[in-house]
């Protein structure tokens, strides 16, 4: 069989004839669902609780969201680290890089411009924005 050495389509599981040790596909989806539910519930709890320090909630929500995206990729889209999935992972890595550049770059540049904006009175905008 040469099939095993081909790349695998994104979204496809390794065939169980080729890889008998692969877990049941139904089990993979179900585990993914439960982990995703757990992470979502934690996100909603963290956003509403008063138990946590408010400054840390923002970071915690970001971490939970990224973790859940990872869970979706692994359990629903079946992205693996195996050699047959290399092309998919490389494309994904490039996409993540561009997403990071667009989001972080925009926020950095605009925050910088906002801070340096000169108001008619001559003082920076950031001084005026503070209530």
């Amino acid at each position: 069989m040469t099939e095993a050495l081909h790349e695998r389509a994104p979204g496809d599981r390794p065939s169980r004839e080729i890889q008998p040790s692969a877990p049941s596909e139904f089990l993979v989806y179900t585990i993914g669902l439960f982990v995703a539910i757990l992470l979502t519930a934690t996100s909603f709890w963290a956003a509403n609780t008063t138990l946590l320090w408010p400054g840390g909630v923002f970071l915690g929500l970001a971490v939970l969201a990224i973790a859940q995206m990872g869970i979706h990729l692994v359990f629903f889209l079946h992205i693996t680290t195996g050699p047959e999935s290399t092309n998919n992972v490389l494309a994904l890595a490039f996409g993540v890089l561009i997403v990071f550049v667009v989001v972080a770059g925009t926020m950095w540049i605009v925050a910088d411009m906002n801070a340096n904006m000169m108001m008619p009175s001559g003082e920076p905008m950031s001084m005026r924005m503070q209530h």
């Binding site: 050495l5 389509a9 408010p54 998919n88």
Partner: protein
């Protein structure tokens, strides 16, 4: 020299590597191309997320996110989309085992949950517009309606696509080209759920947390 010797000592793989095995099957080519499209779609969403993050404080004296958003609705919307992603996965299993009844059942539940999500979202938009929180009100609301509306538009297109695919399954059966399209549909649907994770975190949870 040593490196060359070391390479010679690596046991050769018994099977030909992919580059010697001829062109990849069509299923892999189609799904990989669609994967590239999805990543470009996610890059577009990244631009919308960035503009939302920049404009979120620019309410121009209008209502803020904390005054507008109802977390109960968002939780139900999230649950609908997450479970529909799961049933879409189960539908993919039914397709792989050429189980017609399972495919229709999975598609039906996926469609119903997607439609429920869309109904809740449209009702939320209608309520916001009714109290004057229209996209024209402030830069924050423009960015909000663009980002969340674009995701809603994707869900709408996904639902139409799902109907078309079920008609194709009914007419053509599980031929190879229909299976390729169904694989693309499930990739699309899972990707929409990933984008929604970003939406509910950035827009609804970070927007209302104290």
């Amino acid at each position: 020299m040593n490196i060359a010797v070391a390479i010679d000592q690596v046991p050769q793989r018994a099977l030909p590597i992919a580059s010697e095995a001829g062109p990849a099957p069509k299923r892999i080519v189609v799904a990989y191309g669609f994967w590239i499209f999805l990543l470009s779609d996610i890059v577009m969403f990244a631009a919308l997320f960035a503009s939302y993050a920049v404009l979120v404080r620019s309410t121009a004296g209008g209502p803020t996110g904390a005054q507008l958003f109802n977390q109960g609705t968002v939780a139900i919307e999230t649950a609908c989309l997450l479970v529909s992603s799961y049933t879409c996965g189960l539908m993919a299993l039914a397709i792989n085992s050429r189980n017609r009844l399972g495919t229709y059942l999975g598609a039906l539940i996926t469609f119903a949950l997607g439609a429920a999500f869309l109904t809740l979202e449209l009702r939320e938009f209608a309520e916001m517009i009714a109290i004057g929180a229209t996209p024209q009100r402030s830069a924050f609301l423009s960015a909000f309606f663009t980002l969340v509306g674009c995701h809603g538009l994707h869900v709408t297109l996904g639902l139409i696509w799902l109907i078309v695919m079920m008609v194709q399954v009914a007419v053509f059966g599980f031929v190879a080209r229909v299976q390729h399209r169904l694989l693309c549909f499930s990739l699309f649907w899972h990707a929409l759920d990933i984008v929604w994770v970003g939406v509910f975190t950035v827009v609804y949870l970070m927007g209302v947390s104290p």
